[in-house]
């Protein structure tokens, strides 16, 4: 039987393969040979075969049939076998394999081997990939070995202990005794790994943390020696003595000094020393400075030191080395909340980083820039950020746009500026704007009453240019539907009013309906906008025609709307003006910021006509305030209303309704249940209108608690002899709980007599 081909020979052969297929063939042939060799239990060449298998595994080929062979190698007495066996175990076995556990005994034996290099192999394997069970089984051995004075072994055992703690945290206690005098070591390898062990223990246990705080002076001394010591060839890196150890000590100091005044004070001087004396011409020095800055910022350092740290970061920002600029931005981002003013001083440098060519740096700079925006710098910062939005990669646009909206909302110096900023974002990054921005923007626009004419004009002009960006188109459609009358009457004060006719406006909106670029949601906006214009424009017939055409649209959403609007024209025309009147100021439903505005399908249509999701009446009656009646943005909660408003009358006249309500206390009359039978419950709530307290508002809530629909619901109000014009009944909407109402207009509406 010829000896199996040698490893390097195999590698050479495989590399001559010119195609993937050729390579695969060679590999398969060799694997077959190796398999039969394994079957024959050949001890002599097992090592060679496993080595070859590991090479083929690296090329991506399966090697699981070698797992058991690795174990046999580990169990062998030959050092070469063990070396390859342990390597194979680390590459081919993971804790999911049952075979993994079979290693435990071998490792245990090798941990006690007479040759330190064999012990080293076992420790390395255990410390790299020992499972929790293995760690539990062998923790005792590890603890025993921790006492060794052999520095080669000590450093390995220490890291092994770290691994055991990571896998089985409960075992941490058993290593505590071994930590006595841990830092009196002179050997750097042992010292370094000891610091790692201490760090791991302190991070995991507050008790350990307090216990080890007493080591701060010692750590400070070691660090000082490293800095002050002369050239040490063994540990020198570009003139700095053992930077790896320095960084690790700085990290441990950070953990010990955090939230502890005494420890922080004890390390103050050394931190200042490192910060000012470290050579910064090479990466290694900056690595130490970086760690120092992180430590200073995290402990309870005095303000002078903190300013020093931020200034170091500021200098980093000006460094030619991209990596250093990157870590500076990352660190500044971490500290911008706590040391806001100090970071502000470097604002212009940070903003310059927006123009950096490196994508990672740009992203950090953008995040940091938004964090630095405040009422004082909003105009300048926004200019830079909008310029960035124009020219940045698509991957940034959505986040940048959201950031701009948030910042503008918080710090806008004027309403005009705010609208202009929104316009700029919509026109330059319109397709990337998040869907939830649309309702937020509509709300903002609605509430900027004096800007309506200006806003609708600008949005209209933007639509003429470009109808591809859906968020822009949606906001524009909504505004045109709402403020179209201002548009055609040329009322704009802020800029030169444009001349546009009703037909031109309708052309544009109808264009959106038919365009391929419009999404279904956008079409919905457009159709509703057209409908709303029926009370603002005179060309009602044209609108009626459009609406009736879409009554047979394939798009179910569009069809439903059109059918309802048709019905509005045909059967409920007297209600149309009230239903489609100007929206009032909307209140935000939550205080957490724009994204909290509740809506489900991106629409902010008056929910009056949106009965696709008939919600149950969830608001208890006495929580409804007068304004809420018109707060149709309240998610799916549409409040059924029949609102009664009474004009003011001179108090001298007797017998008016007003007088009856004249003794309305400030908290109002308590709600009453007017009717509650057969599952139909009708409640009245009473409030003074806000802001006019002379108006009483009676809200009627009708709810259906049965499983069946209630149809043909007729509400009739009988009032005493009061002139009709003093009583205004506005039917906004009527919904039924538990019912599946498909159309609002299945019920007859109220009549008043």
């Amino acid at each position: 039987m010829p000896a199996p081909i040698r490893l390097r020979e195999l590698i050479r052969t495989i590399r001559t393969a010119r195609t993937q297929a050729e390579e695969r063939e060679m590999i398969q042939k060799e694997c077959a040979a190796i398999r039969s060799s394994f079957r024959e239990e050949d001890n002599t060449y097992r090592c060679r075969n496993v080595a070859k298998l590991l090479y083929m595994h690296m090329l991506g080929y399966p090697a699981h049939f070698g797992q058991l062979e690795c174990l046999k190698l580990i169990a062998s007495q030959k050092f070469t076998d063990k070396r390859i066996g342990y390597l194979g175990a680390m590459l081919l076995l993971d804790e999911r394999q049952d075979v993994h556990l079979l290693m435990t005994n071998c490792i245990k034996n090798d941990l006690n081997h007479s040759t330190q290099y064999v012990q080293g192999l076992a420790l390395c394997t255990l410390g790299c990939m020992g499972s929790s069970e293995m760690c539990r089984d062998l923790a005792g051995e590890v603890e025993k070995l921790l006492k060794t004075s052999n520095s080669y072994l000590r450093k390995k055992v220490t890291l092994c202990a770290v691994h055991v703690i990571r896998k089985v945290p409960e075992l941490m206690e058993m290593f505590l005794p071994a930590t006595k005098n841990l830092l009196s070591e002179k050997n750097h390898g042992v010292l370094h790994t000891s610091v790692v062990l201490l760090t791991e223990m302190c991070e995991r246990s507050p008790d350990m943390l307090s216990h080890f705080r007493k080591l701060v002076p010692q750590l400070v001394r070691i660090l000082k020696n490293l800095i002050m010591s002369g050239y040490s060839p063994e540990h020198d890196v570009s003139g700095i003595s053992d930077p790896f150890l320095q960084v690790r000590i700085l990290r441990l100091l950070r953990i010990l000094g955090r939230s502890d005044d005494d420890s922080s004070e004890a390390m103050n001087d050394i931190l200042a020393q490192v910060a000012t004396n470290t050579e910064t011409s090479k990466n290694v020095g900056n690595a130490i400075l970086y760690e120092t800055v992180l430590t200073i910022m995290d402990i309870k350092s005095e303000s002078g030191l903190r300013v020093l740290a931020i200034n170091i970061l500021g200098r980093f920002l000006l460094n030619n080395d991209k990596n250093i600029r990157y870590v500076a931005l990352t660190s500044l981002l971490k500290t911008v909340q706590t040391d806001h003013n100090a970071v502000q001083r470097h604002r212009s440098t940070i903003v310059d980083c927006l123009k950096d060519l490196d994508v990672s740096i740009k992203r950090r700079a953008m995040e940091l820039s938004f964090a630095l925006v405040n009422g004082n710098n909003i105009r300048g910062m926004m200019k830079e950020l909008l310029y960035f939005l124009d020219s940045c990669d698509p991957e940034f646009k959505a986040d940048c746009a959201s950031g701009v909206f948030l910042a503008a909302e918080k710090y806008a110096p004027s309403k005009r500026w705010h609208i202009d900023t929104i316009m700029r974002v919509l026109t330059t990054a319109g397709s990337y704007v998040r869907d939830d921005s649309v309702p937020n923007l509509i709300q903002l626009i609605t509430n900027s009453v004096e800007m309506h004419a200006y806003t609708v004009q600008r949005l209209y002009k933007a639509l003429l240019d470009d109808i591809s960006q859906q968020p822009l188109v949606q906001v524009s459609s909504w505004c045109i539907g709402e403020y179209g009358d201002l548009l055609v009457s040329g009322q704009c004060e802020e800029e030169e009013p444009i001349q546009v006719t009703e037909d031109e406006v309708l052309d544009v909106l109808e264009g959106l309906l038919v365009s391929n670029l419009s999404t279904p949601v956008t079409r919905g906006y457009a159709l509703t906008a057209i409908m709303k214009l029926s009370t603002r424009f005179s060309s009602v017939n044209r609108i009626k025609k459009v609406v009736s055409i879409y009554g047979s649209s394939i798009d179910v959403e569009l069809q439903q709307r059109a059918v309802e609007y048709n019905a509005l024209f045909k059967k409920y025309d007297h209600m149309r003006p009230a239903l489609l009147e100007r929206m009032p100021i909307m209140e935000k439903t939550a205080t957490n910021g724009p994204t909290e505005i509740v809506q489900t399908n991106g629409e902010t249509e008056p929910s009056v006509l949106d009965t696709k999701h008939p919600p149950p009446v969830t608001q208890p009656a006495n929580q409804v305030r007068a304004n809420d009646l018109l707060d149709l943005l309240g998610g799916n909660d549409v409040v059924p209303v029949i609102q009664t408003t009474l004009p003011t009358k001179p108090a001298s006249a007797g017998g008016e309704l007003l007088d009856l309500l004249g003794d309305l206390s400030l908290t109002g009359i308590p709600p009453m249940t007017a009717y509650n039978k057969n599952g139909l419950k009708i409640e009245f709530t009473f409030e003074r209108a806000n802001p006019n307290p002379n108006i009483a508002v009676i809200t009627i809530h009708a709810s259906n608690s049965t499983e069946a629909d209630m149809t043909d619901f007729v509400f009739q109000a009988a009032v005493p002899k009061v002139s009709r014009h003093s009583l205004e009944l506005i039917l906004k909407c009527l919904i039924m709980k538990h019912s599946r109402v498909n159309s609002l207009f299945n019920q007859n509406c109220a009549t008043v007599f």
């Binding site: 050092f79 750097h188 390898g189 790994t193 063994e234 991209k322 990596n323 990157y326 060519l357």
Partner: protein, 154 residues
Amino acid sequence: GMRFLLLFSRQGRLRLQKWFTPTPEREKKKIIRDMTTMVLARKPRSCNFLHWRDLKIVYKRYASLYFCLALEDQDNELLALEILHRYVELLDKYFGNVCELDIIFNFEKAYFILDEFLMGGEIQETSKQIVNRSIEASDMLQETMEEYMSKPAF
């Protein structure tokens, strides 16, 4: 601590994979694919840091080989560059003007050297000389065996 270290060529061929935490085979393959794709797509003068999942990826090209190290959040990226450099120096000392071919043909040695420098995701030894001496001594043990058997072990 470090999570993994990968070495791969400019064509994306893997030359070394060290995993510092247990990772299932399928996951390893996915990570290797992701790393090679991401790193090889980087523009020439980009910074050496990337973000991937919850890890910081530090990479550096030495001749025809990319060295790619995955760090956890609290690890120092600038120091990681020094770690990569130290490993290259160790390889260079051992092989004498190390090149990719050395690592291809002697991959097991590359692992042995790495295992004297790093362990369990942490630095084990900060002295170059001590690492070199350990490797030499281990090699000596192996050679003694090979002399005894009068043939190379593999």
